[in-house]
């Protein structure tokens, strides 16, 4: 069995009286692509922010490679080998591509002085690696001049710089063209092939179905379904299930299967 990279145990998060997450269990093994699906307000973003260390859970436990973590923060999350490509891409648009790639992880020499030459060199290597083909931009171009897809590229370049074990992609294909979406898919497969893991969050169930090894459906702060690829016959199955969750009483078959699966875990 593959190594268990990260495990969330009974994670809850409430904002005042509003529950965003109510006892979520989620795990990601090495080398697998987990697709996280859910409607708006299902708690996907909160879950990602907890993994990224930006939001602290109200209760629950986070285990990295089997060890429970303490003092979880964004910096700790990145140190633990988790990189997140946020939905809004988390870029500082008035800064250069280099500054964005090394945001919070500046390459420094003595006394915190930047290794500017090395940063530029690494940034151009990363840009080549992710197939950033435009020759119009240099690593010192301002991110605000880039298109949406190119900005996504910068966010992804930042995520792969440290050979992270787990890359979280939050709605990576939203607002991207077909070719750009294809690039993202290619990237996901590359990462999996290199033995690293991806948590892929998507609205587009077809996209998630195409790429993921395992599916987790969130609904109103709880895991409504956790299924391996073999258990889901087609993207339509997933869509039906989602509809069923949203409007109970519909197609019962998979729902029951899902519940049984959930109970078994």
């Amino acid at each position: 069995m593959a190594e268990r990279l990260i495990e969330l145990r009974d994670i809850s998060k409430s904002y005042g009286h509003v529950y965003a997450l109510g006892g979520v269990n989620l795990s990601v093994d090495r080398g697998e692509v987990v697709g996280l699906i859910g409607d708006n307000g299902a708690g996907k973003s909160t879950l990602i922010k907890i993994l990224a260390g930006v939001v602290k859970p109200t209760s629950g436990e986070i285990l990295i490679r089997g060890k429970p973590v303490t003092g979880w923060s964004a910096a700790r999350s990145r140190d633990a080998g988790i990189e997140t490509v946020f939905q809004d891409r988390a870029l500082a648009v008035q800064q250069t591509i280099v500054r964005n790639i090394f945001m919070g992880r500046e390459l420094t020499g003595w006394f915190g002085w930047l290794k500017v030459g090395k940063e530029i060199e690494e940034a151009s290597r990363l840009m080549r690696e992710i197939g950033f083909t435009s020759k119009v931009f240099t690593p010192q171009s301002i991110v605000g001049q880039l298109s949406g897809g190119e900005r996504q590229g910068v966010a992804i370049a930042r995520a792969i710089y440290k050979q992270a074990d787990l890359i979280i992609l939050d709605e990576p294909t939203t607002a991207l063209s077909l070719t750009e979406t294809a690039k993202v898919f290619h990237f996901v497969r590359q990462v999996r092939a290199s033995g690293r893991s991806i948590l892929f969050i998507g609205h587009n169930i077809h996209h998630v179905y195409d790429i993921a090894d395992r599916f987790v459906v969130l609904d109103r702060g709880k895991v409504a379904l956790a299924a391996d690829r073999s258990e889901v016959k087609s993207a339509e199955d997933l869509i039906n299930f989602m509809e069923d969750v949203a409007h109970p009483g519909g197609l019962a078959g998979l729902h029951d299967a899902g519940n049984a699966k959930q109970a078994a875990r």
Binding site: V54, K115, S124, Q140
Partner: protein, 349 residues
Amino acid sequence: MSKTMEPDLQNPLGNSHSDATRKEWKHPSDHWMRRFVLDNRAALGTLGVFIVMMAVFMIANPTVFTTWYLYSSVLTTLPVALFVVVPLVFVVTCGEIDLSFPATMGFASWVFAVVVQAGYDPFLGIAAALVTGTLLGFLVGSLVVYGGLSSLIATLGMNFLLRGLIQIINEGKSTALTSLADSWAYKIFSSQIYGIPVQIFWAIAFVVLSALLYNRHRFGAQVKVVGDNPDSAQQMGIDVKRVRVKVFVFVGIGAAIAGTFSVMINFTWWPTAGDGYLLPVLASVFVGGTPTWGGIGTVVGGAIGAVTVSFIQTGVVAAGLSGFYVQFFNGLIIILSLLGHKWNQARYR
């Protein structure tokens, strides 16, 4: 920043890697001069404004503007402003503002005056002033950042509070420090070399070091990112609050240096020390080309802005106009500079 123009701190001799990299990203803007102009457009714009203004002054009154005395008097007082303008560029870049620096100048220089008057060496006084400035900066920064207050209002309040404290304790009385004239500290920090006030060299060193800090150091990089997009900075693991407190501490240190210099120049500490710097210093930052919205800025531009602002006052009077014109020209230069910068730099979103 152009590699051709700027020394690479890591590889002072240059290396083949970066050359190869540059070839692959060949682009018209790779020409060092074009890049230099693009990277420094705000500072160069400010320089342009300054040159035009000086040209107008010189045409208006050539005799006064070719005498050294005029420049010598500007160079005496300008350094005091530079020590606060530069840290303020960091604060504004970080998306904050600090209006408490005049009181910090007064407070830190008061500590300096007390130590010197008590008969201790002025160097000890400078050290005490620096500690005071650091602590006050930390206090103001913590209040804004951890108290979650608006920096505009909170620092304005701190300015009144600290100034009031100075006035209450001193009952409006000044301190004369005649013994300073014979001290080593005075010779090193405030005398003249070949008729040039020595403090300008210290100020230039401060500007250069700060410009490097701004462009070539992790601190500057994080200040810019925090001012640009604090949420993203936090998501990428930057301790946003800490960076914000640090910029206020930097202003505190700069204000302490500025206050101490102003006392050494005048041999006297006044309870109002620093008060007159509030508006000219703020104007210098924005005339210099640092925009109000945070994320970007220019230290060198701010310094040129300070030079411009301090020449307006001297220049208007020297050009033969009455002192009534000073405010008018101050305003004119500020508005023209802002219009220039607006046209000169785009805001990316």
